[in-house]
């Protein structure tokens, strides 16, 4: 027997000469990591259980803590014990010279270890939040989630949320129109339009640099201050819409520009070669294709705009946030602001799902 063959025999015991076998995938570190997570989860379960149970009375504290710790230990114990058993079987199979079975059992062990890990990574933050909300006599919970304050403010805050929606929708329409003009202006060819291109680039650079809150402040206080007839006598809502339109036109313009650039130049050549006039090429051929591609990112901008409508509270427009602040001052409690959060979340989540869908569609299917 040569030295190499002796080595092979050592790696694959019982496999006979020459049949070198790769050992199973490691199970040690996944199990160790899962075990560490399990210990941490049980510990924080103990804390969370205690601080929740104390709300039902001081005497319940220890009972709650132990019950929660046991529950967590049980939940994580099942996959952990399965993983350990598979690991043992794997080692036996390997020693017994059945490398295929050894690998299968190792794969099982890893699967169960990863399951335990996943469960731990889920329980850890959830239990931490539960602890945070209830600790110190549930002071956090009572500050942000007091039912009576939520109920009292719900109607007024929801009504005021109408202002946010109005501003968002109006500013979205205006900023898309202005953005489209900016994109077209910037893509005009030829030396005659060099200055137009320059203006468009300058506009986008400026408004993307400035914080929306500053623009709102400048427009909403500045325009009335100037005392120009008609212009200065507008509704603050109107100024807020203008301010946000100016800001978001820059973002939407860049979005349009990306969309226009993404259209293959052959599409434009083909359309021109059919004798379609330039305006119609843009309207019928380029824009419809561009819109399909940028619908996702554009909706993303719209969501950002919706959230930025809360900034108008600095100029005294009664939006949901302003209304909620009035309640929070009266009740000395922030639960009314939680209502604002819930409203924004409620309108945003369906839209983000729609963005995901649109982006996925644009990725998978060119065109229609």
């Amino acid at each position: 027997m040569t030295a190499a063959k002796i080595l092979d025999a050592a790696v694959s015991p019982g496999m006979g000469e020459g049949a070198r076998q790769t050992p199973p995938l490691p199970t040690g570190w996944p199990l160790a990591f899962a075990a560490a997570l399990a210990v941490a989860s049980v510990g924080i379960g103990f804390l969370a259980g205690g601080s929740v149970a104390i709300l039902a009375g001081e005497s319940m504290r220890l009972v709650g803590a132990i019950a929660a710790a046991l529950a967590v230990a049980f939940a994580l114990g099942i996959p952990m014990s399965r993983a350990l058993r598979a690991r043992r079987l794997s080692a036996e199979a390997w020693r017994g010279g059945v490398p295929v079975a050894a690998r299968v059992e190792a794969a099982h062990a890893r699967h169960h270890a990863f399951t335990a890990m996943g469960l731990g990574l889920f329980l850890l933050p959830v239990l931490a939040v539960a602890t945070f909300l209830t600790i110190n006599d549930a002071v956090v919970y009572k500050t942000f989630l007091r039912g009576d304050v939520i109920l009292a403010s719900l109607v007024d805050v929801t009504k005021a949320f109408g202002a946010n929606l109005t501003i968002a929708v109006a500013a979205q329409v205006l900023s898309m129109l202005l953005g489209l003009l900016l994109a077209i202006g910037r893509s005009l060819q030829g030396s005659s339009f060099a200055l137009v291109r320059g203006v468009c680039i300058f506009y986008v650079d400026i408004f993307r640099s400035l914080p929306a809150i500053v623009i709102i402040y400048l427009v909403c206080f500045g325009v009335p201050l100037m005392g120009i007839p008609v212009l200065s006598d507008g509704d603050p809502m109107l100024y807020a819409i203008v301010a946000l339109s100016l800001t978001y036109a820059a973002y939407n313009g860049e979005q349009f520009r990306a969309g226009l650039k993404g259209i293959h130049h052959s599409q434009i050549s083909a359309a021109q070669s059919l004798g379609i006039p330039p305006g119609a090429v843009l309207r019928l051929i380029v824009l419809p294709q561009a819109m399909r591609r940028i619908a996702g990112p554009m909706l993303g901008n719209f969501i950002a705009l919706q959230k930025d409508t809360a900034l108008v509270n600095i100029v005294g427009i009664v939006d949901a946030f302003t209304q909620a602040k009035i309640y929070s001052a009266n009740y000395y409690n922030l639960s009314s602001v939680t209502v604002v959060c819930i409203l924004f979340i409620a309108i945003t989540i369906p839209q983000t799902r729609l963005v995901d869908y649109l982006v996925a569609r644009a990725d998978t299917k060119e065109g229609r």
Binding site: S269, Q272, S273, L274, G275, P277, G367, R368
Partner: protein, 249 residues
């Protein structure tokens, strides 16, 4: 002899210092088929694009039926209705059905009303064997079918001359024939055509005249038997040797 439908006289064009087209004279008689062959980058596509104003030229003059169609002040939109062009790929508008692709130009240019445009489109689709796909969208068609629709779409505008720029280059080999058959039909019906192609045997068969482009010039031109059978210039010979080696002849 009757005046050629298209006359090119001393055409020159540069991109910066790079001379893409370097003095080209060419006549295309009515009802004839002229093929441009030559290595990649020799300026075939550029020359075609000059003919319908997609590119402008810096020297020389192009005439269509005696009328100057190059230089400043040309109404390109009107010109392109007389000079149709089909490209290698990305011809069809992906967001429109086959019928929509065929009717958008006649309707928007006011060539005819929607109903007449649809009738004409369906008749033309019938001719290219695509009538049953009128409602389909481009991504539901094979490459060969897409190119046939692209040709039909251009023919609906009733152009006086058709420019075809390597319309089979992006196709799988088994789809090339159906497109070439259609071009052959058009030639037999007397359509004036200027085309670039890498299908040498097709160029040889269909053309009345073949031009070998070399570094922006027509190095050699003549009937296909002469250019393919007995090329005079060394560059033509070596080009033909290379395409033969690549199995294109």
């Amino acid at each position: 002899m009757a005046r050629p439908l298209i006359e090119l006289e001393g055409i020159g064009k540069s991109y910066g210092t790079f001379r893409v087209i370097d003095g080209i004279d060419l006549d295309i008689p009515r009802h004839s088929v002229v093929s441009l062959i030559g290595a990649s980058g020799s300026g075939k596509s550029t020359l075609l694009r000059c003919l319908n104003g997609l590119e402008d030229i810096q020297q020389g003059e192009i005439r269509l039926d005696g009328e100057v169609i190059s230089g400043l002040g040309i109404d390109h939109v009107a010109l392109r209705r007389r000079v149709g062009m089909v490209f290698q790929s990305y011809n069809l508008f992906p967001h429109m059905s086959v019928l929509g692709n065929c009717t958008v130009a006649p309707v928007i240019t006011g060539a005819c009303g929607r109903e007449e445009a649809e009738a004409r489109a369906l008749a033309m689709l019938e001719r290219v064997g695509m009538r049953d796909k009128a409602k389909a969208f481009p991504d539901q068609l094979s490459g060969g079918q897409q190119q046939r629709v692209a040709i039909a779409r251009t023919m609906i505008m009733q152009p006086e001359v058709l420019l075809l720029d390597e319309i089979t280059s992006a196709l799988d080999p088994e789809l090339v024939m159906e497109v070439l058959d259609l071009v052959r039909d058009l030639a037999q019906q007397g359509m004036t055509m200027l085309l670039t192609t890498h299908e040498m045997s097709f160029a040889r068969e269909i053309s009345d005249k073949v031009c070998f482009l070399y570094k922006g010039r027509i190095l050699e031109e003549g009937p296909p038997e002469q250019v393919f059978g007995a090329p005079r210039e060394a560059a033509t010979q070596s080009f033909l040797r290379r395409v033969t080696a690549a199995g294109r002849l």
